[in-house]
Amino acid sequence: MEAEKNQQQNHHDSHKKAGPIGIRHLVAVWIGKTLIALTRILGRGGTTLPGRAALAMAPGLSYVLAGRLSRGTIVVTGTNGKTTTAALIDGILEEAGFKCIHNQSGSNMSWGVASTLIEHSSWTGQMDADIGVMEVDEGAFPGVTAGLQPLGVVVTNIFRDQLDRFGEIDSIRDLIQKGIDALPPGSFQVLNADDPSLAALTSGKDVKRWTFGLELELPPDEFLNTGRDIKTCPVCSHKLEYTRFYFAHIGHYQCPSCNYQRPEPDLKLTSCSAGNEGFNRIRISLPEQKLEAELALPGLYNLYNALAAVTCARALGIPGPLISRALKKATPSFGRMERFEKEGREIVMALIKNPVGANEVLRTLLNQPGTINLVVAINDRIADGTDVSWLWDVDFEQLAGAKSRFTKIIASGRRAWDMAVRFKYAGFKPEQILVVEDTGRAIEEALEQTGTGSELFILPTYTAMLEMRGHLNKMGLGSPYWEGS
């Protein structure tokens, strides 16, 4: 392990920038740290204001602080799976003996990254950590990558998400390319080979490219009819052909016109079978070895997240056995199938934010046996996406197809009525739909109708999740997010 570490150190010595910190940056750190302390006292996990204020004072602050990490930073971006992938990378690095810092999923803009760095720096601007693992919003990716000059980046996938902010999918890919172009020589990029829009991205000079992909035989997918946002070849715009579909546009593809095709991945997940106590046994084939691991995270999307994290760990030279050990310890991240227990009733909270991710959550939900108690809470604040039309691209019809298994379903949040209409047009009878706009009251109502020994599923958008977690915290469940999760 030490040898591995040393190897890494030689490679990235250029990232170490010790020496005294400039007065402007120091003042910015103080401002940031003071504001963090203040927001805590006020009982809020504010991560926007401290970073924004500090960056206004010293725009290059993140670069300076990140440069004081002994190894540097890893940046994780993509539409879905950022949080889980970043958490898995963090877990693997900790297992390998590195001290890591990471941002919370809600603070993934440039100021969130700055807040995280400030929080972990001393009042004199010293960083007591080796590596920063930062999940970064696609929109902020070019700026953050240029600013941090990271060791490497990981891109999970691109789906339709929050078009109100980015315009269209083409522009999201342009943003990712911009970020990759800003990578320093000697760094690496990890890309999903099964996503046709990512595999076509070009790599910069002296940037090592690692790809990962699934090689599994899976039964046909009932959720295939929505969310296939990329149907044409990113090189020549001809319609792509697929030999395997995993979900949405993710699979094994080729262009019949220009011969663009899925690259042979460096890391392949070749088998996944049910193991003991809810664990999946997975086998990953690396260039020079095979790796077996157990993973407790459910769903196909988590196989991709795990694979992305393992690929990043390999790019950093972490040995296989350490990776397996870390994967086994992984628990669901903040609001991603997170579990709480209340008087014999289990509460499962699963963030939904776009059609592809939501369909995966619905699929996992329908795999549960027995009666299903459900709250869907839709907000339309900026962090949720202000346009709720994506709800119509989610296959709620699948739930309506099993409607006798549901008790009253509750629609909540600022867009509760939109969600209620969505349920109605999906095929639920209006009598089965209950609208409770207030998210706190929605939880209470739902718990009342959830019998002992059964599960309550809460599917919130991002800010609805923060609200509902707050309510659960008040009931004595879970801990506030700024105390770590």
């Binding site: 078009l163 715009s237 039309s389 691209d393 600022r414 867009r415 109605k424 047009y425």
Partner: protein, 247 residues
Amino acid sequence: MGKINIYHLYPAHLNLYGDRGNMLALCRRANWRDIEVNIVPVGPGKEIAFTSCDLLFMGGGQDSDQKLVAEDLKRRHREIQKAVQENMVIFAVCGSYQLLGHYYTTARGERIGGLDIVDLYTDAGRGRLIGNAVISCSLWDPPRTLTGFENHGGRTFLGPGVQPLGTVLYGFGNNGADKTEGAVYKNIIGTYLHGSLLPKNPWLTDHLLRKALAFRHQDTALRDLDDSLEEQAHQAAVNLAARRTHK
């Protein structure tokens, strides 16, 4: 009872902003009244016999898809033009609304010729016009509100022979300047509003269904439905647009 043939144009390419919701609203509200709906997906390159189409639905697409679609559509120009003159119903949202006009300019400055069916054109503008919108629509007397979400870079301007779909109460509308939103020409309705538009504005859905039934001289009387959920959703969305808060 009645029967409506809905042609869904390029469903794989024009499906950007919850267009599925619009199709679902048309189907459900017809089915709830025992009106049969037959959906015909039309892909690029396929022959279309517009003679059996009652309602043509065209959704929104990304620039790259829209260009592909524009090329294909132009080859069908004459058939569509003829059907329009015969009062076929067309409902076009966002990108395909732009395609109905003389031309539109993409964000990258490329000018793409349209179908020339409706007297309107679309120029590129600085920044996208994004947010909740409410318009007052004179398809009814007294006018009723329509509410949806708009997200477009193009600025659309209507020629003299074309009526706007409505007057902007909240939001930007066609170009952010003249308070018009959408266009009505013969039995064509074009709009920038999605959200999806039809589920939350059931009177517009019913208007389209009636027009589609009338096209082939079927009985246009529609049984009343319990729209309390839809009306609540409509009102809640109008209130949000009026407050314009998204923090």
